[in-house]
């Protein structure tokens, strides 16, 4: 394909090679900043019920988190009560003289105020740089209060967003007691972040749990998706760990396997029939419940047979242009590529940033090992200064790319205006969720149907102008 705007055109494997060799630099431009280690660590920790995440830092750090915790995302809608977002409010004098004394007092105060099951001290830039020994304070404080007190070094400069998730999951392992028994036919689901903060959407987890229940598999804990400290304490009593998203569960799964010998089911996201089947069998087979799982798969497959037939008919021979933007995100996009191929389409993934390749290296490699190696295109707009949302250049580049393919169908979100049917896979529209599992097949079929049947309806001049300005598209 000839196009001046294209920076890379090849396979996912080739892109990975270029990132690994340093030919493509995995660095985001200055206008693009993902969350820091502190935020992501906080997300995971807040997924444990009755926890006080005690931020050892100034007020700015916890406040960003509490915007989520305290607004529409908790209480009425998500059933999560108003939880504390406590901090030690470090000021200049603490920066000069140290804040350890205040932290110790803060832990005692937090216990007295909130009566939590767990307190996790999260250090941030200030306390990290001045060298406050949060781990020692946690050990000391634990003797003085009636709950576990853990500390997590989560300074924002200390790592990228991924390290916050991983270190927090690793810390959670410290809460796991040696097993007193084995819970037969029971698993943990790993990699969730579903506390007061809205990092994940529960529909996909609900679908996974529904399918597991149909097979007869029980779930001890969704770590850390609203689980209790008690459930975490018993986490080593399960027969198997599985992840709701390979990308997020993999680290904890591997660590629990390595340290505790608990097997971990390595499967990708259950998008489409084959991946769903793999996911369910990946859990059921090690538990000796393959027969039951196959029965569930057969029944569920029959129920969505018309949707599968429709997807085969609708996607066969088409080009599925899948763009990674805010939603659906990179790993979901690659899972979608696999699903599109399953239904006979040729997947082309647009704009998976080299930074994403670096940050999600284990998952990318796993997907490649599983045979997911779609055509990938990176455009110049991806590397320009500016917001993802306002990437007018990327929009124009996408439109140009779409024009060059036969029978294109765009999989992404409705914030794009390519000259082809748009399958709106945003996770912000709860009407067509989940996307995982058999119910997901039904929903995706409905979204594809909407896209194809209404492809000739006019797109919104208003929304296009809002997103990209009123200039004439090239």
């Amino acid at each position: 394909m000839e196009n001046d705007a294209i920076v890379f055109h090849g396979t996912l494997q080739q892109l990975l090679g270029k990132v690994e060799s340093g030919e493509m630099i995995p660095k985001l431009q200055a206008s693009h900043a993902p969350m820091c280690k502190f935020f992501t660590a906080y997300y995971v920790i807040s997924g444990i019920r009755h926890v006080v995440p005690l931020v050892h830092g100034p007020t700015g750090c916890p406040l960003y988190m509490s915007d989520f915790v305290r607004t529409r995302e908790c209480c009425e809608i998500r059933g999560v009560p108003l939880e504390p977002t406590a901090c030690t409010a470090l000021d200049e004098s603490h920066v000069i003289y140290g804040g350890e004394g205040k932290l110790l007092e803060a832990v005692k105060e937090a216990y007295a105020k909130y009566h939590p099951d767990l307190i996790v001290i999260l250090s941030c830039c200030c306390s990290g740089i001045i060298g406050d020994d949060v781990e020692s304070i946690a050990r000391e404080a634990e003797k003085l209060v009636g709950c576990r007190v853990l500390a997590l070094r989560s300074e924002g400069f200390g790592g990228d967003f991924r390290s916050g998730y991983e270190d927090a999951f690793k810390l959670i392992m410290e809460l796991m007691d040696p097993p007193a028994r084995t819970m037969k036919g029971t698993i943990n689901i790993l990699g969730a972040r579903w506390g007061p903060s809205p990092t994940e959407f529960s529909w996909d987890l609900d679908e996974i749990e529904r399918l597991l229940a149909l097979v007869g598999i029980k779930t001890n804990a969704v770590i850390a998706g609203g689980c209790t400290v008690e459930q975490i304490r018993h986490a080593r009593e399960v027969e198997l760990n599985a992840s709701w998203c390979y990308d997020w569960g993999q680290k904890l799964g591997d660590l629990m396997q390595e340290r505790f010998g608990i097997p971990y089911s390595r499967t990708g996201q259950p998008y489409g029939v084959e991946a769903t089947k793999e996911w369910l069998l990946g859990v059921a087979t090690p538990l000796g419940m393959e027969k039951e799982a196959l029965a569930v798969i057969e029944k569920e497959t029959q129920e969505v047979a018309p949707d599968i037939a429709y997807l085969n008919q609708a996607l066969s021979g088409k080009t599925a242009i899948i763009e990674i933007s805010e939603f659906p995100g990179p790993i979901r996009a690659l899972s979608l590529a696999r699903m599109a191929a399953e239904f006979g389409a040729h997947p082309v993934v647009i704009n998976v940033h080299p930074y994403t390749i670096k940050e999600r290296m284990p998952s990318i490699k796993f997907l490649l090992e599983s045979g997911v190696n779609p055509e990938v295109i990176l455009t110049k707009g991806l590397f320009r200064l500016g917001s993802f949302r306002s990437s007018k250049e990327t929009e124009e580049e996408l439109e140009a790319i779409v024009r060059q393919y036969e029978k294109p169908l765009f999989f992404g979100n409705s914030g794009r205006f390519p000259p082809c049917p748009v399958v709106n896979l945003t996770l912000m529209n709860p009407m067509f969720q989940p996307q995982y599992g058999f119910r997901g097949i039904k929903n995706i079929a409905a979204l594809v149907r909407q896209a194809l049947e209404h492809k000739d309806l006019p797109r919104s001049r208003l929304f296009r102008g809002m997103l990209y300005g009123t200039g004439t598209p090239q």
Binding site: T59, G60, L63, R70, R72, C74, A89, D91, I129, G156
Partner: protein, 450 residues
Amino acid sequence: MEQGPPSKTTGEPSREKCIDPYLRCAFNGAAQTALGISGSALLAHSPQGCEYLVNNAFASQECDYMETVTLCTKLCVDEIVHGGEEMLARTIREARDLPISVLFVISACGPEIVGDDIRAVCETLQPEVKFRLIPIQSPGFRGSQYDGIDIALDTILKSLVKKDTEKVPHSVCLIAPHANANPTWTADLAWAKRVLSRMGIQVVATLTHRTPLSEIEKAASAETSLLLSHDAGQDAVAYLEEAHGIEPVGRGIPLPVGMTNTQRWLSALGERFDKQKAVEEMIAEGERMVMATCRRKWPMARFLYRTPAAIVADATVGIPLVRFVTEEMEMTPELVALYTSHRPVRELLESELKDLKLTPKVVYGTDVFRTRMSLLEVKPRVIFGSTIERHASEGLSPVYIVEVVRMIRQFRMINREYFGYTGILNLFEAVQNEWTMGWRSKERRYGAKW
């Protein structure tokens, strides 16, 4: 490290070591102020997480992402250990082609502690770029968002305002309109500008909201300054008075929320600018409009006569609400919890309470825990606050939570002022909607047959 002004939130030292704050940090306040200058961009010299505080400030100033770019040096361990000045220089160079007049460089906790000299970097790089480089040292540990607003205003005034400009007769410089917890505070600013225009008073500069650099430069030409916040901006008012002879107006009276406050505020302006007649007309017209509208729409607030109420807010909205709730809505404030605690806030609230002969429980510099405990103790039946108080009042007897300050659940596409006469109706509307929702029953339900 430069010594900053005394913190707004620690006017009285809190003995608490573990707090659940309402207010963001100084870094956020500085970003909020800088982003109020149009044709500028902001570079956060910080780890990448701080960029989210910039995003929040961006939204608060209603910036347009097609016009305003924010950048971040995304400092990592290397820069914290070896210094991040080189990274800062590199990022400024990366931004050299941006079509802007000013690039604000705001440093966060990390680089300030390790001693990055952002001023020196900006000075060195200045000849290489076409836009002005303005460094603002406002790390989070310098205080609350209000301290950050003051730090940024101080830097902006000292770096950008031209001296010896000719005074514009009947003119005003508006200060800190963005230090206001009305989630759509820009409507309050717009109202203030409308009434000033009607009085023939020229606004020479607004510090800050969609303010062009040229406006900032001529701020010293204002005859007077008008502070639109009780939470921040006092230092800027004092500086303008001392350095440029700009006379403050409207000092010591609550902002114009409710009929009496609006009357007092407008009258003070009318008196200063010798526009009493115009002001009298505006007051008469405004009060007539409010009464006529209420006659037609029937605000349900009138049924809440002397109902015990709580006000949990910033001082900018909270203090004027005390009179509005007591006088115009005829409820009885039994709890007033304000986010800040500095002396001017205390003095103003105490004078209002004395004047109204009210003796509510008062909490200065409140946090979420203290608010919840105070609500449990006072048991108000109406709360003027935010979504936080909606959740924090769980377990109390049925209460109306009138969400007037951020965070609020209800999204507002249209900006609504609290200031002035339409502001009264906007606040009545908030009460009305809560009153209506209060009739919903979750317990007594049966399903329809069809």
